[in-house]
């Protein structure tokens, strides 16, 4: 059963020819310095360069304080880099825009709006007529598994449900890129697993470009085509690992797959090295 009208049904005029290997995001020698009062300036990101192809699921993995969220905020246009430039579809990023949809760990739902009101907010802002916006939003709410909760307020929902609403709210305005900032970081292990599975199922339908920030190695390997491992102080890319595991992925199968296990162990070893690096003078 098809739950959600595909993009082509919603906007029949727009039918872009899909170029599988087209570059979606280009991060070109981006540095970020934070001025701290009193102490010396903190170099959060140092000359980061990264290219992300259209339709790729890319995770940025690193210890806390490595600047991985900052990198995501720069792509989102919420933070301007101190040096370097980030581009989306070849255009330099100067601010936020509906082509890049964020999903935050803190959910950041509008508490005065119902679930439906939250999801409709983006389409309404983009001038979609109320009737259409509502129909699309109801379909999305059903897709993220919250049918029946349309008129609940965010305060009445659990953390996992809030994050489902946040995902639906962002998908509702059809961003080309999903920017996910440790989206499942505040959830318990069980809810986290369920949301990971659901996110993969949703992603399989239209294969949007996803930039996914996490500090969980398993999560990064399970979800991604590519894992960008970062080190801290200053934030640098240590290594980029292509995750060559078949899709669609099933968590239960994957956990038994020696290739999956090897990716996880290899990446965890990298962090051991990084920790030792930090201990050296």
């Amino acid at each position: 059963m098809k739950l959600v009208p595909s993009r082509s049904e919603v906007e029949p005029k727009v039918a872009p020819p899909r170029q599988p290997a087209a570059v979606m995001i280009e991060i070109d020698r981006v540095s970020q310095v934070f001025r701290t009062s009193g102490r010396q300036d903190h170099l959060a990101l140092s000359e980061i360069s990264l290219t992300i192809e259209d339709g790729a699921f890319v995770s940025i993995l690193g210890p806390s304080g490595c600047g991985k969220s900052t990198l995501l905020y720069i792509v989102g246009g919420f933070v301007s880099p101190t040096a370097g430039v980030a581009r989306v579809k070849g255009r330099a990023i100067t601010g936020p825009g509906p082509d890049r949809g964020p999903v935050f760990q803190e959910f950041a739902l509008f508490p005065w709006k119902s679930v439906l009101g939250n999801v409709m907010y983006g389409p309404r802002q983009q001038g979609v007529r109320p009737v259409e916006a509502e129909a699309q939003s109801r379909a999305l709410i059903e897709m993220v598994g919250l049918k029946g909760f349309e008129h609940f307020y965010p305060k009445e929902l659990s953390g996992g449900m809030k994050q489902r609403v946040a995902l639906a709210r962002t998908l509702a305005y059809h961003p080309a890129v999903l920017l996910m900032d440790e989206p499942f970081g505040a959830l318990d292990a069980h809810t986290r697993t369920r949301l990971q599975n659901d996110l993969l199922n949703i992603w399989e339908r239209d294969r949007k470009t996803v930039l996914f920030v996490t500090h969980s190695v398993e999560e990064a390997v399970y979800l991604s085509d590519k894992v960008v491992v970062m080190t801290r102080s200053p934030g640098r890319i240590k290594e980029i690992i292509d995750i060559d595991l078949p899709r669609p992925r099933r968590r239960t199968e994957l956990l038994l797959d020696p290739r999956y296990q090897k990716y996880v162990v290899d990446i965890e070893r990298m962090f051991d090295d990084t920790a030792e690096d930090e201990l050296r003078p």
Binding site: Y73, G76, G77, F78, G95, P96, G97, P98, R100, G101, P102, F104, E106, A108, L109, F110, P111, W112, K113, Y121, G122, Q125, Q126, Y153, P154, K155, R169, T170, Y173, P175
Partner: protein, 260 residues
């Protein structure tokens, strides 16, 4: 309705009756002319409210209060929100407000009277000043506490800076703003009476202090009851409206002193 629910619903009324009862007993024991019994005071209320002159005075008070409160709120909410979202505006306005905040607004009345006379404008201005500061302060706090990422989410949807202010900061800060407005409403009533105490010309405060001068103590206490009842009534009406506006907000905002 269970007995417990009935009791908690009638509690505010019982409290008021209890207060009148204690007053009645206290006045009977003291037995002085300057402290009438509760019954004498209550009995004087119909004659005040039945008197056209008094009614015009009280309505004039309420009109000044409504104007002062309304203008105060309309002026203060945008200012407070801007202060909350802009460090520059906040550091410019904060010292100015901190100078004005501790000054009793009624103490400004003589100066304001020198400029504007004893009429409506001077009194309304004092009410405006009394209302503004708590509303500015709470709007400021409310706007400052708005989650950055909520604004980012709005920006990603294409909301301009002005739209984020009116469509995200304003509703997100509304519970805090309305807390300020509630304080402002009470202060409006207080400054209304004190302004009329200083600029004796008309109003509820004028009736009260004229009666005091003439030794009509039952009228004095009746006016105190009327002003108190106005306070309770306005607060209950306001709480009713607030409850409906911010029903989406976290629980814990209810202050259980209300007839609503």
């Amino acid at each position: 309705m269970s007995g417990r629910a009935l009791l908690s619903r009638s509690a505010p009324w019982l409290a008021c009756l209890g207060l009148l009862g204690v007053w009645q007993i206290g006045a009977l024991i003291l037995n002085t002319d300057s402290f009438p019994t509760a019954w004498e005071a209550v009995r004087a209320i119909p004659s005040i409210l039945g008197d056209k002159e008094s009614l015009i005075n009280i309505l004039a008070s309420l009109r000044r209060m409504a104007i002062g409160f309304g203008v105060g709120v309309i002026f203060s909410i945008p200012l407070g929100l801007m202060m909350g979202r802009s460090r520059g505006v906040a550091s410019f306005c904060n010292p100015l407000l901190m100078v004005i905040y501790p000054v009793p607004k009624a103490a400004l009345m003589p100066i304001i009277m020198l400029w504007l006379g004893v009429g409506d404008v001077a009194k309304t201005l004092v009410i405006f000043l009394g209302v503004s500061l708590p509303v500015i302060y709470h709007s400021f706090q409310g706007a400052k506490a708005v989650e950055e990422k909520m604004l980012w989410s709005g920006a990603a949807m294409g909301l301009s800076a002005a739209q984020r202010m009116t469509r995200i900061v304003l509703p997100a800060a509304l519970p805090e703003i309305l807390t300020g407005c509630r304080t402002g409403l009470v202060l409006a009533l207080i400054t209304m009476v004190t302004s009329e105490m200083i600029a004796r010309q008309s109003g509820a405060g004028n009736i009260l202090f004229n009666a005091l001068d003439m030794g009509q103590y039952d009228t004095v206490y009746a006016m105190i009851i009327i002003i108190g009842a106005m306070g309770i009534g306005l607060d209950a009406a306001f709480e009713n409206m607030r409850g409906r506006l911010v029903k989406w907000s976290e629980p814990g905002f209810d202050i259980p002193l209300s007839f609503a």
